[in-house]
Amino acid sequence: MIPVDHYLFLSLALFTIGVIGVLTRRNVIVILMSIELILNAVNINLIAFSRMWSSVDGQVFAIFVITDAAAEAVVGLGIILALFRNRETVLADEMDMLKW
């Protein structure tokens, strides 16, 4: 059997890649996609532990995480569309009207 640590390391790797993507990219769509990657890393973690304890609670939690990710992606993309119509840009650096 594969030890649980290997799943944890994989989840950590995906999480770090996602965090780097959120913090360093300018394109807001890529930022949103990196957030989805973070949520998936968390899901791997949950299901690995669900397998370790042989219960489905982790999987139910993962279902809720997927539901949350769907709702957030939908609203986020709606916001991006509205922003694009107003500002004609998708770069996070250029959406700085509220800055002093």
């Binding site: 594969i2 994989l10 993507g21 360093t24 890529v30 998936n40 370790m52 139910v60 569309l81």
Partner: protein, 168 residues
């Protein structure tokens, strides 16, 4: 067992490689393709962990629903000029260093505790009918979060329709 290991390491490598490629592509559509690859690899890992229902839910919902939405929006807001602009923002080095520091901290925590957790062997098998077990848990113990999640989805739907409507 050997097939199990090969499958996991192959899918894990695929997921990490797709993730790295996703955050580094200049073309946003290519990024979306690599995210789809990472999500399908993750679904494969779910299947390898004997979570069959999550496997199909991940593919139908995440890859077949959310990513289709992403791809649609990418095609609607695609500006060719962004392909030539810099892709990474000004704070990339500091941000990268901080993210790696966070990763290193968690890695150290996992490394110290490695080997102390054992995956349940066949003496403690998963419930044989995964879908039924998930369904029972969802509708008996987790009924309230289920209802809240459905209200959340309704709110998100209404919000998205209102946000994306063209104001005449």
């Amino acid at each position: 067992m050997l097939l199990n290991s090969i499958l996991f390491y192959f899918l894990a490598g695929l997921a990490v490689a797709s993730g790295i490629l996703m955050v580094t592509r200049r073309n946003v559509v290519h990024s979306a393709v690599f995210l789809i690859g990472a999500l399908v690899a993750t679904a494969g890992i779910f299947l390898q962990l004997q979570a069959e229902f999550l496997f199909v839910v991940q593919i139908i919902l995440y890859v077949g629903g959310i990513m289709v939405l992403f791809v649609f929006v990418i095609m609607l807001v695609n500006l060719d000029v962004t392909l030539r602009l810099p892709q990474f923002n000004r704070q990339r080095f500091v941000a990268g260093a901080l993210a790696l520091a966070l990763g290193a901290q968690v890695f150290a925590a996992f490394w110290i505790g490695r080997g102390k957790l054992r995956l349940g062997e066949s003496s403690n098998p998963m419930p044989p009918k995964n879908t039924e077990a998930v369904g029972q848990a969802l509708f008996q113990h987790y009924m309230l979060p289920f209802e809240i999640a459905s209200i959340l989805l309704l709110v998100a739907m209404i919000g998205a329709v209102v946000m994306a409507k063209r104001r005449v």
